[in-house]
């Protein structure tokens, strides 16, 4: 029996494993290869071209007519926007998610389950539709736009198609990913620790800083990962709320596979996005290790 067990196990696990490897793993390998090739004429890639790092260089320099390399900040600024939008989204989600999770943990059980369901539902509804809802709210002839312009004395304000609109959309899209892991921590929280802090003369601010936040660290770390990674690779939010001016990496990648028809360049940006993501994951792993050591 023990002799056949590994074989049976392989038969059970194999199909799913092969599906993911063939449809996710192999494509990613092809993508790394394509990122080294030149662009094609009929389809987006010339399979016969000599591999080079030209597509990665294009992210930083552009070639002049006589072949000299000039610094080109266009793509770097899009990379930079993606990183800081994702970082700002994560920071706002921590600041807002922490009090919400604390509040949820303090609710009586019945009400608490209702609130958990209310926070979970957006997670499962269509991301495109949820971002579209903000498009309706922020548009020029919308009520919010009208109210803001009535109150703002210094000329007309455009709420849509800028970085702030993207930030609002990203926070809206991913806030539940921060609230839920934080709540999972506070659910098991030993509230006597907080009482002890007060008994020892700590005020609320000090209790928050010295007791609640350190204990919430595992939730903050897990939530930051769940918010930062999808924000960095997001497409829909900037496509709808950023207009053509404010692009993120996902939109730049889509452009290379759409209008620009430059697959190798799109593949190179994708590789950079994956590399950034790995760096962040490694950074978070380090942060987690340090947080575990300090408690």
């Amino acid at each position: 029996m023990s002799g056949t067990a590994p074989l049976r196990r392989a038969g059970l696990v194999g199909p799913a494993l092969v599906t993911v490897l063939v449809l996710v793993g192999v494509p990613l390998c092809i993508m790394v290869w394509v990122s080294l090739l030149g662009r094609g004429t009929t389809i987006g890639v010339d399979w016969q071209s000599v591999p080079s790092l030209a597509n990665y260089a294009r992210l930083i320099w552009e070639e002049d007519f006589d072949g000299t390399l000039l610094f080109n900040p266009t793509y770097l600024s899009i990379l930079w926007r993606s990183v800081w939008q994702a970082a700002a989204t994560t920071a706002i989600c921590v600041l807002v998610g922490l009090p919400v999770a604390l509040w949820m943990a303090s609710l009586p059980r019945g009400l608490r389950n209702v609130v958990i369901l209310l926070v979970t539902i957006p997670f499962w509804t269509n991301l495109l539709v949820r971002n579209y809802a903000w498009l309706i709210i922020l548009r020029e002839d919308g009520a919010v736009s009208w109210a803001v312009n009535a109150l703002w004395p210094f000329g007309p304000v455009q709420l849509l198609y800028n970085d702030t609109a993207i930030l609002i959309g990203l926070v809206y899209s991913f806030l539940p990913f921060m609230i839920l892991p934080l709540y999972a921590v506070f659910e098991k929280f030993d509230w006597r620790l907080l009482e002890a802090a007060y008994d020892l003369g700590a005020n609320r601010w000090r209790a928050l800083r010295r007791v609640i936040i350190p204990l919430a660290m595992p939730g903050i770390i897990a939530g930051s990962m769940l918010v930062f990674i999808p924000s960095l690779g997001s497409f829909v939010t900037a496509a709808l709320l950023g207009g053509g001016k404010s692009m993120m990496m996902g939109n730049l990648i889509q452009m290379q596979f759409g209008q620009s028809r430059n697959w190798p360049f799109g593949a190179a940006i994708s590789v950079v996005l994956l590399a950034l993501m790995m760096l962040v994951l490694m950074g978070i792993a380090l942060w987690k290790k340090r947080a575990e050591q300090s408690t």
Binding site: R8, V20, P27, V45, A133, I136, R139, D141, L274
Partner: protein, 257 residues
């Protein structure tokens, strides 16, 4: 003084619930507005729903989305069920196997979508349903895998042992004991995989061909062409369908046998 209740947390909590739901409610309300300029409320009307029901390209996109979600849901649930059964006991490399199966959850969808596009073009798969179904099956696997796995982990192993002690062979044990106990997990996994596929926009956006547009892809191009009350109406229907399915899945997950 309730020590658990910190100042302002309730206000922020309620504020966040409002923030999460107001945009969606605004969208739904406007879908019932008789006026075409989506900003002024005139009167209640079902005109936009009538219009989208009569629109042949929306009907076709809805059909495509449902076929795709059913295929992706069934395919990924079968694969995930087998994988969950295969990873029930500990073995060397189990952590790695589970990490690979769950990889679609963490990888940026736009990257995986364009990478899959390149694979299909390289090997000559025509874009459309034939490309979308396998790609959807792949990224739906973790959504089906996790609930089935959770159910399996929570199962009492002595029930299977008892069946084997009573001379049930492996197949009979599976059919009469394991499967009935696992059924709620399978249904929950299928529903989540179905919703994930139904709501997916990016993968379908890159892999759909002419005539195989799905509903989210249709909505995206419609938004690009200009905001209309019809989009509000289709979006409302999509929201209601997803919420209904997810609530169903939660109920399946809580089911006891």
């Amino acid at each position: 003084m309730n020590l658990r209740r910190l100042p302002l947390t309730r206000e922020i909590g309620l504020g966040v619930l409002v923030y999460l739901y107001v945009p969606v409610v605004v969208l739904i309300v406007y879908s019932f507005n008789a006026n075409r300029t989506a900003t002024v409320w005139t009167e209640f009307s079902l005109d936009w729903y009538r219009k989208i029901l009569a629109n042949p390209s929306i009907r076709e996109a809805t059909w495509n989305s449902l076929v795709l979600a059913a295929a992706a849901g069934i395919g990924s649930t079968l694969l995930a069920l087998a994988a969950a059964l295969g990873t029930k006991t500990r073995f060397r490399g189990r952590g790695l196997v589970e990490a690979v199966l769950n990889a679609p959850l963490i990888l940026p969808e736009v990257v995986v979508a364009v990478a899959t596009l390149m694979l299909f073009v390289a090997i000559g798969v025509e874009l459309g349903m034939a490309a979308m179904i396998p790609a959807h099956i792949a990224f739906c696997i973790p959504f089906a895998f996790l609930p089935i796995k959770a159910r399996l982990d929570g199962m009492n192993p002595s029930l299977e042992e008892a069946a084997q002690d009573l001379y049930a062979n492996r197949l009979i044990t599976f059919r009469r004991v394991t499967l009935p106990l696992l059924w709620p997990g399978i249904l929950a996994g299928f529903t989540l995989a179905f919703v994930t596929s139904l709501d997916d926009f990016l993968t379908s956006f890159f892999l759909s061909g002419p005539g195989s547009t799905t509903l989210p892809v249709y909505i995206f191009s419609a938004i690009r062409a200009g905001i209309t009350p019809e989009i509000n109406a289709i979006s409302t229907i999509m929201l209601i369908v997803s919420v209904a399915l997810v609530v169903t899945s939660f109920l399946f997950g809580r089911m006891r046998r």
